[in-house]
């Protein structure tokens, strides 16, 4: 007992010290630059001007009206106005520079971003069906049993891998490829390599899922693809990662925006995780189990979470036309996330045959995760604060803000689930499955939906043809996911309680989950329907259906004038 308590206290003290070190180093400016870095995402005439390419003209106008004009960020705007009267020519040149940079950045990435996002949407639809089939099979076990590749034990990992490596990774990569050139005011270097990389990655995901369907699996959750196929993903990932890092090293901006920190780090972390996790013949027995959850949890914490937060940190301020509330807080969140999240994987093995210090570290760091989570939550909440009406008018914001809220919810829930008392109930149950979906769906996928709605009009130079379909998509997945999450959480909790009661026969814990599993299939069905609407709309845009309303709206002074009634120099 002394040793465990010692480790517990030691880890806790170390974590608090690390936290103070982060705060100190930030006050010294060691980890980045203050407020000026928060404004690099805006051109000089953009402060206080809303932007959402997914919104209709009407919505844009309403969105602008919904903004509180008394806020501080209007100072930047007035500053620009003042400068305009004094040195009109210089300002005009700078504005044109900003516009040119952004046009060049967007043009350089459009092809590869369009391909990655298209592949992601295809994977989303396939993954949704795989998930729905898995869900139905749990309460109708004799359904479609004649096909071995459709057995639950194969279609479930097919679902997970299609979601993780097909939809989430390719959507995240597509968004990162679009954000990096914009944030660095630099053309994307080596776009054609990134394009080849995205295609190779997708080929790898396809080969991997076929392998699982045929029964060739490496056997570890999150690492099922045979390692020979993983080589395709490693090469594909490298072909995407290097262009992004080369672009980063030749940036034109003084400061790295917080999204760049997240994306840059994610691109470094994931290859290390993936290569170590999949290395054949290296891991054994219980050590392999600890590695498995080091990988599984870090794939979420150090790959999907950074990509999702990078997108949220860009699109929330960009749509609102107002800088993020506190840039320093966002960097604190970044470093604290990296430090604490990277060590929490062991909480998947609480009660397992692993050393107690291993579990203790995981529990302490899981609780410490509250810090980066609140750093993000406070920051994003304070940015949106006072402008909640904007959610009505901006499709992008609706998805992204909801996703950011679910990030907070999923993270707090995750910290609590790591507590031994809670974990004893929830471990081994459907509750964990619901929690996983709150993170990867409620948070990550929602943010990706919003980002894609913003990005695609810029990539295609075409507007979303049927704005109503965006609302339909939103409500279908929101209602579907709410049903999914609420009922599966309740069912999982009851299942856990039943299993802990010695006198309840095991079969009782199976029987009582059935109505909840059926509810999950209904929720999942609605989500799948929402994804079909989304995909149909996506491809309708790809084939240029519908009317053109605006064309490519980059920095259009006439637009700004109409929105604000203020004259802007350009």
């Amino acid at each position: 007992m002394d040793f465990t308590v010692g480790v517990l206290l030691g880890t806790f003290v170390l974590s608090v010290l690390a936290l103070f070190f982060f705060i100190w180093s930030m006050s010294q400016g060691l980890f980045g630059n203050g407020r000026s870095a928060a404004t690099v995402i805006f051109a000089r005439n953009e402060f206080g001007i809303v932007e959402d390419p997914a919104a209709t003209d009407r919505e844009k106008s309403d969105l602008q009206q919904a903004m509180d004009p008394s806020e501080e960020y209007y100072d930047y705007f007035d500053d620009a106005m003042l400068a305009a009267t004094r040195e009109r020519m210089a300002v005009r040149r700078r504005l044109r520079d900003d516009a040119d940079h952004r046009t060049l950045a967007d043009q350089s990435s459009a092809g590869v971003v369009g391909v990655c996002l298209t592949l992601a949407v295809v994977w989303l639809v396939l993954a949704s069906f795989a998930g729905l089939i898995s869900s139905i099979k749990l309460h109708v076990p004799d359904w479609w049993v004649q096909y071995d590749w459709l057995t639950f034990g194969r279609i479930r990992p097919i679902h997970l891998n299609m979601v993780a490596y097909g939809w989430c990774s390719l959507a995240g990569i597509g968004v990162a490829l679009w954000l990096i050139p914009r944030l660095l005011k630099k053309r994307l270097i080596g776009a054609k390599y990134a394009l080849a990389g995205g295609a190779l990655w997708s080929t790898g995901v396809f080969a991997g899922t076929v392998a699982i369907g045929m029964g060739y699996s490496d056997g570890l959750e999150w690492l099922e693809f045979p390692w020979q196929i993983d080589i395709l993903l490693v090469i594909g990932g490298a072909l995407v990662g290097f262009p992004l890092w080369l672009t980063l090293l030749r940036r034109k901006v003084e400061h790295l925006y917080v999204s760049v920190w997240y994306i840059g780090a994610g691109l470094l972390w994931f290859p290390v995780l993936f290569v170590i996790g999949n290395w054949p013949g290296l891991h054994f027995g219980v050590q392999q189990a600890t590695m498995n959850w080091w990988f599984g949890h870090n794939a979420l914490g150090l790959w999907f979470t950074p990509l999702g937060l990078a997108a949220a940190y860009y699109f929330i301020p960009k749509v609102l036309g107002k800088p993020i509330h506190s840039y320093n807080l966002s960097l604190l969140g970044f470093w604290a996330l990296a430090f604490f999240y990277s060590q929490v994987g062991g909480h998947h093995l609480i009660g397992g045959p692993v050393p107690s210090w291993f579990i203790t570290i995981a529990i302490v760091q899981s609780m410490m995760m509250v810090i980066p989570v609140f750093a993000v939550a406070v920051n994003q909440h304070m940015t949106v604060l006072g402008n909640f009406r904007a959610l009505f008018y901006s499709p992008t914001l609706r998805f992204v803000v909801l996703g950011a809220m679910m990030y907070t919810a999923a993270s707090v829930q995750g910290s609590l689930e790591a507590l031994r008392s809670v974990n004893t109930v929830t471990h081994f149950t459907h509750y964990t499955v619901a929690h996983a979906h709150l993170g990867l769906y409620g948070f990550f996928s929602m943010v990706m939906f919003g980002s894609i709605y913003f990005i695609m009009p810029r990539v295609m130079n075409w507007e979303w043809p049927f704005p109503l379909l965006i609302s339909l998509h939103f409500w279908l997945v929101l209602v579907g996911f709410s049903i999914y999450f609420v009922w599966l959480s309740i069912g999982g909790w009851l299942q856990g309680l039943a299993m802990l009661d010695e006198k309840t026969p095991f079969m009782q814990s199976v029987a009582l989950t059935l109505p909840y599993l059926q509810a999950r299939s209904i929720g999942g069905g609605l989500m799948t329907l929402g994804h079909l609407v989304f995909a149909a709309h996506f491809f309708a845009m790809g084939w240029k259906f519908g009317p053109t309303r605006l064309g490519a709206a980059l920095l259009e002074p006439s637009m700004l004038l109409r929105l604000t009634g203020k004259k802007v120099a350009a």
Binding site: T151, F152, R250, R251, W261, G351, F358, F428, V433
Partner: protein, 216 residues
């Protein structure tokens, strides 16, 4: 990269070093340290290595994703009634000395299987249960695995392992014959038996007697 900045002032460098140091620390704690500590764990005296057929069966277990519903890690009696359910004592690292890849699992949609060979040692039961779980466990939601079996009309041939189904589930004029994969899978399931003591008997010395006293 902006000019006039010293090497250490570059954000990229802070990013690379900070990110990699942190990941290195986590990898050290979660991967390397367990590697070093568990590398010399000896298999307990009661644990036999898998036979070739059992290893083939283990691959069938992996190929059909049994791990997504069945754990192989009974918890301590202080935490959960796993022992009372007949799932066995809390497992220790040595129990998995021959288990690569590990199959500890994260779900108990079905029961824990680390000691299924001891709990349900009948080969006939295991085969029939894989063919149609609901013939043996009413209310089970486990999928049947028809692709591990062959349906023959008429007589079974010499050397066939015929699955003996309960009368209500047997169709007249049909025999269900186990394919080699099914037989291998059952061989593996029957080998899942960690009922031997987790620790070797203590040698009788003063120190170990004291240590034994401290044990609850």
């Amino acid at each position: 990269m902006s000019a006039g900045k010293s090497f250490w002032e570059m954000d990229e460098l802070r990013l690379v070093i900070g990110a990699m140091v942190i990941l290195g620390g986590a990898t050290g704690v979660l991967v390397v340290l367990p590697y070093l500590l568990l590398d010399n764990v000896k298999p307990p005296a009661g644990l036999k290595p898998y036979t070739n057929e059992q290893l083939v069966g283990r691959q069938t277990y992996i190929a059909n994703g049994c791990v997504y519903c069945h754990s192989q890690q009974p918890r301590d009696i202080k935490q959960a009634p796993d022992f009372a359910r007949g799932w066995g004592r809390a497992s220790v690292a040595g129990d998995y000395a021959y288990d690569t890849p590990h199959l500890l699992g994260t779900m108990r949609t079905g029961p824990d299987l680390l000691n299924i060979g001891a709990r349900q040692p009948s080969k006939d039961w295991q085969l029939g249960h894989l063919y149609q779980p609901r013939a043996y466990t009413p209310g089970s939601i486990m999928p049947p695995y028809p692709h591990l079996f062959e349906i023959r009309t008429g007589q079974a041939q010499a050397g066939d392992t015929v699955v003996k189904l309960p009368p209500a589930f047997a169709k007249p004029g049909e025999v269900v014959v186990a394919k080699p994969e099914a037989l291998a899978l059952v061989a593996y399931l029957l080998a899942l038996d960690r009922t031997y003591p987790a620790l070797p008997p203590l040698p009788k010395t003063a120190n170990s007697a004291e240590a034994a006293k401290e044990k609850p």
